[in-house]
Symmetry: C2
Subunit: 168 residues, 2 copies
């Protein structure tokens, strides 16, 4: 169950984020400014810039899936600076997430999850997924989106949500 | 299962949002400006202001739970203007969500969900919860948070995530 609510939806949202970044680059191009201005923008002086929001969105999904499944996640150097680098970071995260199977998450709900800064305390996998991983993934994707929106990029809710599997 | 991933976590996040709004009011008080400036702020001229973000955060959770459970949700007039009114809106949403039981969501995963603007198309309850309700709840709570953060209110990730049920 935790596989279902964490992995496929994180993949979808990260792919949406990648397309949102494209819109940022197109906007910079149309307005004739360096896209790096957008990647280095932030909503508050003491909040992370867009590059870091993208990195943490990726890591929230990656680390969440790694802790829950017990699988080792690839290490990233966090040195992205350009659109191709940011998109490659997202792509590599999606590629790794795509290697995970529902069966890797057997027992994940009861698994005791602890992170170094939690000083020995733990959450169950169920609590960790619902109260930590998922809110963090959405937080950083929404914040990345908002940084672009705040700077005039024409992105809308549909870009954030992505395609819906509507049926007739 | 959909009850678990939609209702308790929406209640938690909406309560976090209510406390985040308090921090906004405290900041306005300390800096000696009218808190209404914050409630009417937005990140982009053509994006909703904070009042509307709070209303839609509430409605995303409320309508989501209503569609999934088949229960009728209370109607809101969307006329909030002040902190007490915004907090009352959140409280009433939380109170209604708290009346729902896991058993109300039996069969919700396969339920065909349609909204007027979907022109007769539908999503399964499972798709609707994961790809629509949850991303929307987080989107509007994060955006409300970001509007305050952008205006200097000292809110941090812990305010957004809320208390974690850490165990030793």
């Amino acid at each position: 169950m935790l596989y279902e609510i964490v992995v496929p939806q994180s993949i979808k949202m990260l792919n949406n984020l990648s397309r949102i970044l494209d819109k940022g680059a197109e906007y910079a191009d149309a307005k004739k400014f360096e896209a790096e201005v957008l990647w280095n923008s932030r909503l508050a002086p003491n909040q992370f810039n867009l590059i870091r929001q993208v990195q943490i969105a990726c890591d929230s999904a990656k680390k969440g899936a790694a802790y829950l499944s017990g699988k080792e996640a690839p290490v990233n150097e966090d040195n992205e600076k350009t659109l191709p680098e940011l998109k490659a970071r997202i792509d590599s995260t999606v590629t790794w997430l795509s290697t995970l199977k529902a069966s890797d998450f057997q027992g994940a709900e009861e698994r005791k999850i602890s992170q170094p800064r939690w000083e020995g305390k733990y959450l169950t996998g169920y609590e960790y997924a619902l109260q930590h991983v998922i809110p963090n993934v959405y937080f950083h994707i929404t914040t990345a989106y908002s940084i672009l929106r705040h700077n005039g990029v024409e992105v809308g809710k549909k870009d954030y949500l992505g395609e819906m599997p509507y049926k007739k």
